[in-house]
Amino acid sequence: MDLILQGLGEAASRLVSLDPDVREATSAALAVSGIATALSVATGVPAGAWLGLSRFRGRKLLLSLVNTGMGLPPVVVGLFVAVLVWRSGPFGGLDWYCTRQAMVAAQYLLAAPTVVGLTAIAIQAIDPMLHLQLSALGATRIQMLGILVREARLPILTAAMAGFGAVISEIGASLMVGCNIKGDTRILTTAIALDTSKGEFGSAFALAFILLLLVFAVNAVTTWAQQRRRPL
């Protein structure tokens, strides 16, 4: 109990004083997960929109692969990315092992299926009559895709938030490919794990508090997006 109180007290002082270790881990986590999510959205939204609108042979199989991807265990992704970016691996020339780039790649693989899958669902949930209405208004196929994506912007925002929420709290893959280097690839989750194993509970609590705050913010945005009214 003393340990907890002491840890919470130290956490508070670290948060108030913006402790450099805490700040570094937070900004690293935001940078890595932010860019991974942004890349997932940039590629996953068009892919998801296409999957949601098109009808072709093998679409169901592709969708179920995407759905499987939504539940990929981070350590499995970490393992694959590590093997790929080791110098002896096929992408060894990039020299990405123990870098943020490798972490972004791993987190991208974790977030992208979620963005693709949820975008496809969001686009499919739009009234098919609206497609007809847009055609009738003279929309080309590309224009239609753009409008439907914009129309599904709140569910897509939810998809992006789901992706971000998953990778910001992920540890397995980031630790395996990023190596938890202080001031560089040390992010909130890996720092919490290290501090816990070092017995530095104050720092761990402070980082955990920030992580919880981020997760809460993500869920707040998601909840807001889900409560919006739709036009007739």
Binding site: L3, S27, A31, V32, G34, I35, A38, L39, V41, A42, W86, R87, S88, G92, D95, Y97, C98, T99, R100, Q101, V104, R153, L157, C179, N180, I181, K182, G183, D184, L194, T196, S197, K198, G199, F201
Partner: protein, 278 residues
């Protein structure tokens, strides 16, 4: 919304860039090392200092000694820093290493509950282990092929006992976590002194056996053989090895932890031979 994402993308890309331009061709040095080195906090200190004093920048992955040597043996790291002399010699014999330098040592301690049900206090380490096995008192092993794990298994081998049974628990986790488990289970375990000192205040186990020559734990730095693995950053690896054995670094190692724990966690050994240390 799209504009916001593009902005975020740009910011994140900028944040991904290394903080400073370096004057050498390949400033990144990839180090494979052990978790006990990272858990002690010394890795972070040396890494920052190395970056300050040389044009190089350390990228360290902290895994078990076994895994660190395996990474080196694939040429996936430039330099390894480990503590398992027998495995290191095998590694050198296979031609995976170039230079192997003694850097420092710490020592292991046998820790257990203050009540000491197996009565090991004050014994030498081999007798202590025999007593634990005989009384079937719970012993937590790291069980993760780390340097500490290899070290512990070697000690058992020298006692002639193959530890097995419900009393011998493999935790398969880092040293700090293993100490916590040991404390919770009122068990015995082998720990490096550094990690034990760091965790001392938070756990209810004590040092029962220490300062016994077989418990000395030596750390070597090994540069990965650039003739076998042409892709390695040999210049960077050498720079790191030279950095570790330099006088300034040795002083830094000797003073690390003194302020916080009242005694050093590691003892500098540059220039000595293995025999000198034991």
């Amino acid at each position: 919304m799209i504009r916001a994402f593009v902005l975020l993308l740009i910011c994140a890309l900028v944040a991904c860039d290394p903080p400073a331009q370096r004057s050498v061709d390949r400033p990144e040095v990839l180090l494979a090392t052990t978790t006990s080195f990272q858990d002690s906090g010394l890795l972070d200190v040396l890494s920052a200092d190395f970056q300050k004093r040389t044009p190089y920048r350390l990228r360290a992955t902290a895994v078990g000694t076994g895994a660190a040597l395996a990474i080196g043996a694939r040429g996936d790291a430039d330099v390894v820093f480990v503590h398992a002399p027998n495995e290191e010699l095998a590694y050198m014999q296979q031609g995976n290493g170039d230079r192997r330098l003694l850097v420092m040592h710490n020592d292991f301690v046998l820790v257990g509950p203050p009540a000491d049900p197996a009565h090991v206090r004050g014994k030498n380490v081999f007798d202590a282990l025999r007593a634990i096995a005989a009384s079937q008192a719970t012993f937590i092993s790291r069980g993760d092929k780390s340097g500490t794990d290899i070290f512990e298994k070697n000690l058992w081998k020298q006692t002639g006992i193959a530890p097995a049974g419900s009393w011998y628990v493999e935790a398969a986790t880092g040293m700090g976590q293993t100490l916590t488990i040991t404390s919770e289970k009122r068990a015995y375990t082998l720990s490096d002194r550094g990690t034990f000192l760091v965790r001392q205040g938070q756990i209810e186990v004590q040092i029962l056996v220490q300062r016994d020559p077989p418990l000395i734990n030596v750390y070597h730095v090994i540069t990965v053989n650039p003739r076998k693995f042409p892709k390695v950053n040999a210049a960077g690896a050498n720079a790191f090895a030279d950095y570790l054995v330099s006088a300034e670094t040795q002083r830094l190692i000797a003073s690390f932890g003194v302020e916080k724990y009242g005694e050093p966690l590691f003892f500098p050994d540059a220039g000595k031979s293995d025999a000198d240390v034991r």
